[in-house]
Amino acid sequence: MVSLSTTRRGVLGLSTAAMIGATLRATDAAPEGELRVGVHVSLAPTWFDPAETPGIITPFMLLYAMHDAVIKAMPGDPMAPCLAESCTMSPEGLSYALSLRKGVKFHNGEELTAEDVKFSLERYRGAASKSLRDRVANVDIHDPHRLTIRLKEPWPDFLTFYAGASGAGWIVPKKYVEQVGDEGFKKAPIGAGPYRFVSFTPGVELVCEAFDGYWRKKPAIKRLVFKVIPDESTRLAALQRNEIDIAYSIRGELADELLRTPGLAIKPALGSAPYWLYFPEQWDPQSPWHDRRVRQAASFALDRKTMNEALTLGHSRLTGSIFPENFEFYWALPPPAYDPARARKLLAEAGHARGFDAGDYYCDTSYANIGEVALNNLREVGIRVKLRPLERAAFFKAYSEKKLKNIVQGASGAFGNCATRAEAFVAKGGTYVYGSYPDIDELFAEQAVEMDRAKRAATLQRLQQLVHDKAIYAPIWQLAFISGVGPRVDQSGFGLIKGFVYTAPYEDLTLKGKA
């Protein structure tokens, strides 16, 4: 759930700069030691191939190790030129000229050229591939290190997709792929990243080894081992025993234990997926949820701060919006207040002085822990609901088929910007939209054809304001992804890249006493 968004290019902070300087010291030393990462999901070979990058963040965990991109998010810069030294947009916005870094080698020793960049873009078939194919007219190669990507029409979001929300800008070796085929590539992937593929045992582990010829710097750690450990208690035990050095996704009371165990450290990273409560019956005049005051009361009833401290040790970011704060066109508003008295008052005004039976509260089983707490909060002000956790696949099926009622606890970490988010969750006809308001639909239609960026931003921000005013949603937070780090690790790489929840860039990671 990362947003590799281009919009708000961060200023290179002093601390980040200092840190990069510090890690660059180690460049001359030969890589040594082994870093073991306890991963919470099963690793899929499809993630070894950038061409198949789906619209989720997990594959980037491996892409950052084995591959490299023309432009990618790096510490301090969400659009850092990597394989490209420069990227310039033509004045009319119809083409992008890339000048590649010279002497960059793939793991098999072959040099990376413009041919590979063109091949990778044309071969790409993952998320957003249709948008790219529809809009890219051609890729012209001028010489082995210079090429131009020409568009059919101006497309201001091109770099967002090419360099962020897709795998199209991640480069694979043309000659090798043509030689071994797609299946062969997944069995023995070759890239231009800091670590090269050594072995993969499905369901068990992936082993990578430092690639001495990596252009940015020689990695400090010799071997990377990704171990699959599905149960989070077991992951914690493995970390406590030093069987692994990094444990992804340690939640709730297990994170408390990280704080308590000497030598272990907690590394929270803020993902870009907002969580919310949705009231699908607000368009039904018979439903109590039709009354805006009732929906507002539900929002005031949520004690988000305590919830945050209990479930994510205070590292999630409370939010009043269903739009992530790092999205383009985001309209900032203060986090919602916890005010049970006001909630009761609003309910009384709406004619529910003694509270009411509000029916079911649907959520994805994996996040039932949020629901359990919210349930108590709602009950305290008189909104009595029954928790109905559904298994993930069934939940999304029911949610998108508009079968859920009363309250839905949802979340989205999809790539895009505020317009794409509104399309799926607010505007008429969206996948998860149970009803809509004419004024919002109007604004949505308006921005979709607006070519002027500033005007479009204004329209989208007005739209967000309406979403807030009408209390269509009761947003909760942007969930923190908490990981644990063991005593052998010096630089763990968490939080270096904004919005990225896993450790990266791998070449910057160091172990203690090995510098």
Binding site: A44, P45, G55, V204, R241, K397, S400, S412, G413
Partner: protein, 306 residues
């Protein structure tokens, strides 16, 4: 006889066919894999793209036809999640599952048979109760809890055993014990009753009358016969174990078939679920078929009757 076998094979094929239809439809009505491969709120064109790549844009009957056609060609399709052939996945996991089940079975028999014998020899005595209760404990505690307590004690506290994963003999001990303990009660119970039955039989009485030492009577003559049903049950349970190991496999990060199937279900990875269930079904149907045919060969009445 030929006719009987032919009919029996026909029935087996029919049940496999029914299984394939059931699982094919079942897995499809319960959720959409695409919604799990992308983030909620992904663009409709990306969703359409994935649907097309996975072949889910075709009508249902066409998907089924395709599935059956490739099944007969010995191809179970490609996993949606891993994007590699299901058969490859299956055979990568199978050795782990077999190893875990075999060791778990050995441990289970190691607990079950001695406690069963003790219980039979000392009916209602201390050993009877103690053995019974130890075996029953394995049945009455949820495996995920037993597993975690073992990890806490042997890995975190004592530091003797690796907490999870596969590799050496040490990795195998805790998951195999957790799984084996669960099955120990059944084996104990069967050993006990089968032993009691054998001990009451004529030839054991005869052996005793002949003045053979009690240890020899029990250890040699009785045990040999009493163990036959236990071994039969163990054989069946070995197959069952491969399937029920999912909880143990999850806790100990053991890469077995149970977890492959479980993850296949949670991700609605249709080819994986179909493949694992059909291979499992084929194995069970085949074993049953062989047993039935063997019985029919031994006992002609059965084939006359049906």
């Amino acid at each position: 006889m030929k006719q009987y076998i032919a009919r029996r094979v026909g029935y087996s094929l029919l049940s496999l066919f029914l299984l394939s239809v059931t699982i094919f439809l079942f897995v499809r009505v319960t959720g959409d894999p695409v919604s799990l491969l992308v983030e909620p709120g992904a663009s409709p064109e990306d969703i359409e793209n994935i649907r097309r790549q996975l072949g889910l844009d075709q009508p249902l009957w066409e998907q089924y036809w395709h599935f059956m056609a490739s099944l007969f060609a010995g191809d179970l399709g490609q996993s949606f999640y891993y994007r590699v052939p299901v058969l490859d996945l299956y055979f990568q996991r199978l050795p782990h599952s077999l190893l875990l089940a075999a060791v778990a079975m050995a441990l289970s028999l190691l607990i079950g048979i001695p406690s069963g014998i003790l219980a039979a020899v000392r009916v209602d005595g201390f050993w009877d109760s103690a053995g019974k209760i130890f075996a029953l404990l394995g049945l009455s505690l949820p495996q995920f809890w037993v597993g975690l307590v073992l990890i806490l004690f042997f890995s975190v506290y004592l530091g003797w055993l690796p907490s999870s994963g596969s590799g050496g003999v040490l990795h195998l001990l805790m998951p195999a014990f957790t799984l084996g303990w669960y099955f120990a009660a059944a084996h104990m119970r069967l050993t006990r009753s089968s032993m009691l039955e054998v001990l009451g039989s004529e030839y054991i009485k005869l052996a005793r009358l002949k003045g053979l030492p009690e240890a020899l009577v029990i250890g040699k003559h009785a045990l040999k016969n009493a163990l036959i049903p236990v071994i039969t049950l163990a054989g069946i349970n070995l197959v069952v174990m491969i399937n029920v190991a999912v909880v143990v496999e999850t806790v100990f990060a053991w890469p077995g078939i149970g977890r492959l199937l479980y993850e296949g279900i949670t991700f609605r990875d249709f080819p994986v679920v179909q493949g694992v269930v059909i291979i499992g079904g084929a194995m069970i149907v085949m074993v049953n078929l062989l047993v039935d045919i063997l019985y029919a060969l031994i006992d002609p009445r059965i084939r006359l009757e049906s």
